[in-house]
């Protein structure tokens, strides 16, 4: 037992106690800082009080059970939705993205869990959606240039597709995932949010993406927040890990100082607490 949840627990309350919520460690090299972020959807609280930070060139693994608030956090940072309260800073400046496009302009891009691919559009059209290349001074799309650049990017990652003008609906799950990742990685962003980038991939394809992330980490230009469920992948690929439990960060540790066992114990403990709380409610 790691001790993260040690201490008296209120069984009726499934959230980690206030004193055990990890406070963010801010540093001058932070590219992104989030403080006391909260977000609810009607009666459902997705983010209760999230504070976290991301250093330049760092790969931060974001863990948590289903419904813990990981995707909500990512969607808030990338400008898809607004928080109810709390603040964000980007490169030390207040960060209030008005839209996904605005966040992208500020250097924050995202690969969604659902991939955000348009089935009817081709591979290269999807890769350039909302950052289309046009002929200068004309409103017409420069398809040839987009295809050329998309081919270069996919080759660089190692994704082999014979044609880039086919609708993505005709591709396999792994290929679609690769295209979504490629779109994010080569978007000239300096912060990339990856929401379960390996979800639909086979072992080989997943290894390819992890290899890409390792290469990006080595280059040090891109800071990454990555949601993953596989703890081994987290320990292999990330510099630091944050665990989100019921809408708050419950663990913030360098990956070198934690283990699969510890991460498992936190989740199992959380499951036990939730079950006990449910039983108490049933009795009541």
């Amino acid at each position: 037992m790691s001790g993260v949840f040690a201490g008296g627990l209120a069984l009726a309350d499934q959230s980690p106690p206030e004193e055990l919520v990890v406070a963010p460690v801010s540093a001058h090299e932070d590219v992104l800082r989030v403080e006391h972020l909260a977000k609810s959807f009607g009666q459902v609280t997705a983010l209760r009080d999230v504070s976290m930070h991301l250093k330049k060139g760092e790969v931060l693994g974001l863990l948590g059970d289903n419904g813990a608030g990981k995707s909500t956090l990512v969607k808030t940072i990338c400008g898809f939705q607004k928080q109810d309260s709390g603040q964000m800073w980007l490169h030390g400046q207040p960060y209030e993205p008005k839209s996904v496009q605005h966040a992208r302009e500020l250097g924050v891009d995202v690969v969604y869990q659902d991939l955000a691919l348009i089935d009817e559009l081709s591979v290269y059209q999807n890769m350039f959606l909302c950052r289309e290349e046009r002929y200068s001074r004309l409103p017409f799309l420069n398809g040839a240039k987009m295809k050329r650049e998309a081919r270069k990017v996919l080759n660089d990652i190692g994704i082999r597709l014979p044609r880039l003008d086919v609708p993505v609906a005709r591709l396999s799950g792994g290929q679609r995932q690769s295209i979504a990742v490629a779109r994010g990685v080569y978007s000239n962003a300096d912060i990339l949010l990856l929401d379960e980038p390996l979800a639909a991939m086979g072992a080989k394809e997943g290894a390819m993406i992890l290899e890409l992330i390792a290469r990006l980490k080595q280059e040090g230009n891109l800071s990454i927040i990555m949601i993953l469920h596989n703890y081994v992948h987290v320990l292999e690929s990330c510099d630091r890990v944050n665990m989100i439990v019921d809408g708050a960060i419950a663990l913030d540790k360098p990956t070198a100082e934690t283990s699969v066992l510890e991460l498992n114990e936190i989740v199992v403990e959380q499951y036990r607490r939730a079950r006990q709380a449910a039983q108490v409610q049933e009795v009541a």
């Binding site: 898809f80 839209s99 996904v100 496009q101 992208r104 995202v110 969604y112 659902d114 991939l115 955000a116 691919l117 348009i118 089935d119 009817e120 559009l121 059209q125 959606l129 909302c130 289309e132 046009r134 409103p139 017409f140 799309l141 398809g143 050329r148 081919r151 270069k152 080759n155 660089d156 190692g158 994704i159 082999r160 597709l161 014979p162 086919v166 005709r170 591709l171 396999s172 792994g174 290929q175 690769s178 080989k204 394809e205 390819m208």
Partner: protein, 359 residues
Amino acid sequence: MIHSDPDAAAPARGEEQPRSAPRAVLSPWTLIKRFLTMREGSISVVTIALIVYFSLSIPAFFTSSNFQTLLTYFTWLAILAGGEVFLMINGEIDLSIGGVYLFAPLLFYEIVGGGISLVPAVILTILVCTGIGVVNGVVTAILGVNSFITTLGTLFALEGLTLIVSHAEQLNMPGSAVSTSANGSSHLGTFASIFGAGVYSELVWAVVIIAIMQIALTRTRWGLHTIAVGSNRIAAAEAGVKVRLVVIRNFMVCSSLAGLVGIMEAVRSQSISPDPSSSNSVLLDAIAAAVIGGTLLAGGSGTIVGAFIGALFLGVLQDGLAIKGVNADYLDFYLGIAILFAMLINVYVGRVRRRTGVG
């Protein structure tokens, strides 16, 4: 590495893409198959077959004078269908085009009556029609009312307004008068020649508008975002597409085109006829032309050229049946059967396209 096709000669990692390899020469049968499985392919063949049938069975069909008559059946319909296609690709529908079509010439009449000259009056009328599109778009995209309901409301409201303002009386369309010279020959004014009454006026408008819209759909950001919104609205929003703006813009275009067509048809017929039954028929014909042309009612896919061909198909059918002397009571029956037949072919070809990945 991800291999989607083991035979594909993809370049190795980090290598520049080689210059495109020489393409294999396609056999005539492959070309025909590709054409038939294009969205516009099946309706093109059906329309050509219909033209051939009427040409062989009715001597008066394939003549220049009947060609001029045929234009009056389909050109205006093609323009309306073109606007509707953009919205249908968005997964929306605009029923109010019937009301706008009816109301626009009356509004034009009132503006001209207010002392404004003809061309500025056209511009003002179309601007008001664009405003109607904004209302439809805002109510649908921002307030969240289903577009069928929104535009049904606007359709009835505009039809009612037209009856109220016109007192249900037929009016003479300003700018459409024909002058007679001393030698007895009649002359159209420049305004009337350009805006609908000239023999090829509506054809020119239709071809130009369809060409612009086809280019907009396939070669511009607007078209790409329209398809994205119709195919997967959430994914489009996640990718950064301004979904509401795209929908509102398409409503604006659809209403503007309906206003233009309303003015042109009134100029051509030299009268303003406040009859809601005619506008309802116009509305249904436009939707039929778009759907027959290969646009999905469910959204995400469509073709402007297909809508043009769909309008031509309906025009040829109505013109041919009229010349053939088919009893007016049977006309709608034959029309309905022909539309169903054309749609069944479309559905079949669509299945082949999805199965084979061609087109």
